[in-house]
């Protein structure tokens, strides 16, 4: 016997999580594009968009609380609702990384980029792509994909290390560049953390489908790996 009303609400909930995810995905790409083009007004728009992300997260949170209060979810339903609560919180924090990058662009003012951005946009593209597939895997409860995506985080970590080494080389050659290097390093760090959080979403997918709550890829580098 299907619980038609509840299941319709669960579907709406998943749709809302996907909408929030695409807002966050677009924001990370836009924030790096704005930095690349040194487009301050585009970065300003990211800050405005982040407010919408936060608003959407609170909307979903209250939708979730109402479902928990009124439907007494158990077993798979309970794991799904608890995981959505966790994932929207991850997405909100991931949105903050875009805001961080937008703020860097704004604070840089007229200063030119220290170097052309090559690996940084790759990091953003890779992170956005991982997020997109992770959320698809979440709504489809595709645990095979959910277990595979976190391994790709190593590529983002490798790009981060690449950016870090290049920037350090420049700074060592000319210590006056340290502030401009720092801006780019923080940008890369935001992107590295963004991809890390995709792993947390994948862990929830496995939890919803199997009830197993465990870390997937514990080679995750918090900042950078020792060379």
């Amino acid at each position: 016997m299907p619980r038609t009303t509840f299941e319709t609400e669960l579907k709406q909930l998943k749709d809302s999580v996907l909408v929030l995810g695409s807002m966050v995905e677009q924001a990370i790409l836009d924030s790096v594009e704005a930095l690349k083009k040194r487009d301050i007004s585009a970065s300003q728009k990211i800050l405005d968009a982040d407010k919408l992300v936060n608003k959407k997260r609170f909307e979903i949170e209250s939708q979730l609380l109402i479902l928990i209060a009124t439907q007494q979810p158990m077993a798979h339903d309970l794991r799904l609702l608890a995981s959505c609560m966790e994932i929207i919180s991850e997405l909100e924090r991931m949105g903050d990384y875009s805001k961080g990058i937008a703020n860097i662009n704004i604070r840089m003012g007229d200063a030119p980029l220290l170097k052309p951005l090559i690996d940084v946009p790759r990091m953003a593209q890779k992170g956005a792509d991982m997020l997109h597939r992770a959320l698809t895997a979440f709504v489809e409860e595709d645990i095979e994909t959910a277990r595979a995506i976190p391994v790709e985080d190593d590529e983002v970590d490798a790009l981060f290390n690449q950016v870090y080494r290049e920037l350090m080389t420049i700074v060592i050659g000319d210590p006056a560049t340290i502030e401009r290097a720092n801006w780019l390093l923080w940008t890369a760090h935001n992107l590295e953390r963004f991809a890390d959080r995709v792993t947390n979403i994948c862990e929830r997918t496995v939890f919803v489908a199997t009830g197993e709550l465990a870390e997937i890829n514990d080679t995750d580098s918090e900042f950078w790996k020792p060379q």
Binding site: Q72, M74, A75, R79, T210
Partner: protein, 264 residues
């Protein structure tokens, strides 16, 4: 006579092995494997007609009061076969007490509701002390201490049910079986019974049959899920696990469908 053997000190109080119950030709419960653990609350859940109450009643031989009932398999209580011909069913029933869905106090005073059973079982201590102790354990003393001479039937439904629990305690059982003890009570009286169960489990082992899944989730330590065995009209335990496992990550698809409300 029921005699304790070496396993009496183990954590298992009751153990069903391939237990089945027939009413005449009708097989009502089949092939139940279950261990009820000491000082724990075990809930039996499942849809109507799946044999929950029948199983519960087989634990203290209450089923025998229905003519034509036969039990198959084995039920151990403290390591002893409960259905061994040498065992006195009356002794089983006072060591394994029962509380029913509908509170059924005797049409006597509150005091006598408790004293009566104890007296029959030959209690020789101070009866006033026993009555107070049982009423206190059943969290009823403060509400009735000034009216022990009044009829038990004059109490509210929730109080009557706690009086029945107090009455059960008076014969010092080791196990208390509860058959939907709160289904006729309002949420506050229900909560009192559930809180009381948490106190009682320190001294007794409790098995509760409930239709209310939230109650099983709130109040029990272990949950046995009953359903009709595949291809039969007889109920059996399809999953038995820690309560948190049954409600968070059940192993059985039919359990999952039931606890998420998609049964049927």
């Amino acid at each position: 006579m029921l005699q304790s053997n070496d396993t009496a000190t183990s954590d298992t109080v009751l153990e069903a092995r391939a237990l089945g119950v027939r009413y005449g030709d009708l097989l009502a419960v089949t092939d139940v494997q279950l261990k009820v653990l000491r000082n724990r609350i075990t809930a039996i859940i499942g849809p109507s007609g799946c044999g929950k109450s029948t199983l519960l009643r087989s634990f203290n031989r209450m089923n025998e009061l229905v003519p034509g009932t036969r039990v198959e398999g084995t039920l151990y209580f403290e390591g002893q076969d409960v259905y061994d011909p040498s065992v006195d069913p009356v002794e089983v029933r006072y060591r394994i007490g029962m509380v029913f869905q509908k509170a059924n106090p005797f049409p006597k005073t509150i005091y006598e509701n408790i004293a009566w059973g104890a007296r029959i079982h030959g209690y020789r201590g101070n009866m006033d002390d026993l009555v107070e102790s049982c009423l206190r354990q059943a969290a009823l003393w403060d509400e009735v201490k000034d009216k022990l001479g009044q009829s038990g039937l004059a109490l509210s439904g929730g109080q009557q049910q706690r009086l029945c629990i107090a009455r059960t305690l008076a014969v010092e059982p080791e196990v208390i079986l509860m058959d939907e003890p709160a289904s006729a009570l309002d949420p506050i009286a229900t909560l009192k019974i559930e809180e009381l169960m948490q106190e009682l489990k320190k001294r007794y082992t409790i098995v509760i049959v409930t239709h209310n899944m939230q109650q099983a989730a709130r109040a029990s330590d272990y949950t046995a899920m009953m359903m009709l065995a595949e291809g039969t009209q007889a109920g059996t335990v399809i999953e038995y696990n820690e309560t948190e496992t049954v409600f968070l990550r059940p192993n059985n698809k039919r359990t999952e469908d039931y606890v998420t409300g998609r049964f049927g």
